[in-house]
Structures are given as structure tokens and as C-alpha cells.
Amino acid sequence: MRYEAPNSVEAAVKLLASEAGMARVLAGGTDLLVQLRSGRAEPDLVVDVKRIAAMKAISAEAGGFRIGAAVSGAEMGEHAALGKLWPGVVEAARLIGSTQVQGRATMVGNLCNASPAADSVPALVAASATARIVGPKGRRDIPVEDVAVSPGKTSLAKGELIESVFLPARPAHSGDAYLRFIPRSEMDIAVVGAGVNLTLDAGGVCRAARVSLGAVAAKVLLVEEAAQALIGTKIDEAALAKLAAAASAACRPIDDKRGTKEFRIQVAGVLARRAAEIALQRARGK
């Protein structure tokens, strides 16, 4: 295995594109190092992106924030303005692992690890975040929900890497939230995760919503029907019940040691509803 730590994104692309064998990107390393040590990944080249200044930065852009691929969860948590604009996304990223893991783990790593149970991904999907991909052919932006294609696999081509994630500006009266179910209070993998992002008009009617579920299918789901249950309503009891039913109906989970299919389907509805209630409180400025 070769280790490289380039100073520019262009140099990183060049290294990744010209490697004949298997190449992996190293940001926080909290997934990659575990895979290296267990022998699940045996790359010929590891490209450490932490020396690329743009990938270590959180920068204000067009009323939103661009978060570099090597920014850790701890750094996100310390950025007050980011947490104010997108509290649900920051909370989701902060749920990943222990204090030690938070010091290293990145949201883009979470995205590229392509686990259906990744905590930050439903929050990012609900937020309409985009991923900026850099490769031999230049840069392109794609919705974050198009990054993972199946467990452990991404849509990125050879030589490509994600440079940053962009969280857009948001209208007044907007709120987002992410909740997950785990069997303990800290440090576990989501059995179900739910992200909700919504915007109200001045009269308190929901004008836009996005609902995303994790760990209930081969990849994180964007549940259009669940969002439709909220849009046009004041998010009353009937709308929340409809949202929960739509979220449960969208699940295509597996049985595993963390939970049965039936349990996941049930919990997805409950969590989507609770996340919507928190997002609603935030949208109302409470």
C-alpha cells in the first residue's frame, strides 16, 4: 500500500485516476482504517485529503454552507452559524460514534461509506444537500441521494472524489430534524433513522417538505408520499398520522440482529412523525 497526502484536489484526482490497482480516499479514516485492519479493504493506494485546504473548511456560500469533505463532526458541532441554519444535519453528524470518532469522522466519509444506516445521510437528503464531485473530467454537483447506489457502493467513477457537500440557504419559517432508533443511548448503528426538513408560510401552512429514511432499504430513501402528507397542511394530527403511514409504507427493510422487518416498518413511522414535530417547532422559531 502506498500513502499519499496531496495539497490540492487536482493532485488527488490525478493520483486516484492514475492508480492501476485499488485506490481509496482517506479523510477521517474511521471506516477505512477499520476496513484496512480487518482485511476487508486492501487498497494499493490511500490518498489522504486532509492537507487540501478547501476540504478542511466550512464556508458560507449563497446563504448556505459548503462543508469540505475532510471536516470532522466535532468541527461541525463547533460552527454556531451552521448549527443554527441546519440543526438537524449537525445533530445527525454529531450522533456518529464517540467523542474520539467525532474528532475524525466526516459527513462525506459517512456518505461514501454508503451504509444504508449512515446517520448523517437522511438528514442531508432531507436538506436537499448536493455533493460536489471532482474527477478527471472536472467538477459536477449531484443530489446526495444519488451518491450511494447499494450497501458499500457509490456512483462515483474511477478517479472521482467528493470535494464538499453544500447545504443550501433556507426560507424563513424552516426547520429540520433527524432522529434514529438504537437499542442503547449512545454509540450504535441506527435500526431506523428519519430526517425531516420543512418550510411553513407566514400562516403556518407547510409549503415544502422532504422526508428521508435510513436503515429501512438498501439505500437511504427519499419518501415523496410522506412529504406530500405534510404539504398544504398546518401539520396537524391528521397530517402527522398520514406522514407516519406513508413513511412505514415506503420501507423495504431486512431482518437482522438489530431489528425485524415489522419493527423497522413500525418505528420508521413513529420516528418520521417525531422528527416532523421537532422540525415544526424549529420552523415556528421555538
Binding site: 502506498r2 479514516g29 474511521t30 482504517l33 484496512l36 485492519r37 460514534g97 467523542t99 474520539q100 474528532g103
Partner: protein, 158 residues
Amino acid sequence: MDQIHVSTKVNGDAVEYVCEAEETLLDVLRDRLGLTGSKEGCGSGDCGACSVMLDGRLVCSCLVLGAEAQGVDIQTIEGMAKGDQLHPLQRQFIEHAALQCGICTPGVLVAAKALLEKNKKPTEHEVRFWLAGNLCRCTGYDKIVRAVMAAAAEMRGS
């Protein structure tokens, strides 16, 4: 296999070493630099026994490559006591019998020190959450938490 030459700083001292690309910082600390205070418990970032500070950030050294340490500032358990003068956390751990087998202790101490540098007056809840990434199979955590609270109080001078 190419050896990688790394210049770094450990507990304030300039240090140079060569390592393999696959080698973790934990292995470098223990096997190349002789700093065996940091322990390997799980090797997968779950137990925190290998906790060190990397540029002021608490991390598991088993999840860091030795090569990544180029130009950074590393603080390990070996830098905690000043000569014979134990850190208040170390004294309170002894005072409260907050260790039994001792394997987790260096990592817990490094993590607790990081907490007290950020938060001089943590609640018990905050101590427990902060230390959730440090597993101890002996003490049941109560004594650890009490020792950290006592050290925090001592360091505040109250």
C-alpha cells in the same frame, strides 16, 4: 514496501520516525517510539484505550495512520504527569480507586483531560457522554466518573 519518513511532535518533543503506510499511529507510538502507555483494546475505534490528542483533538490512535502524523502535535498519556508530579486527574483516579486492571486507564485519563480543557465544570451527564467512547470492563464507571468530577472540582480550586 516504501518506508515513510515522518517528522512530528510528541508531548512537546520533536520526534522523527519511519513507518510503513499501513502502520497505525498506535503501533508507531508503542513499537517504534516505546510509548506503551496507549493501549490497544479493540483496534477498531470502539474502546478508546488508545486515545491520544492530535492537534488538540481527542482521537483513537488505532484509527490514525502513522504517516498522517507528519507535522502535527501529539499528546499522549506519557505527557500528562510533569516528572513526579501527577496530574490532578491521575491523583484523583488513585484516590477514588477508579481503576482495576488499568488497561483502559490511560485512554480514560487522556479523554477526561480533553473534556476538562473544554469544560471546567461538567455535569455528571456530560462526563458520562464524553467518556462513552472509553470502555472499562472492571469499574462499572461510577468510580471513574466520580474521580473526574473530583479532579474538575480540584482544578477549579473548589
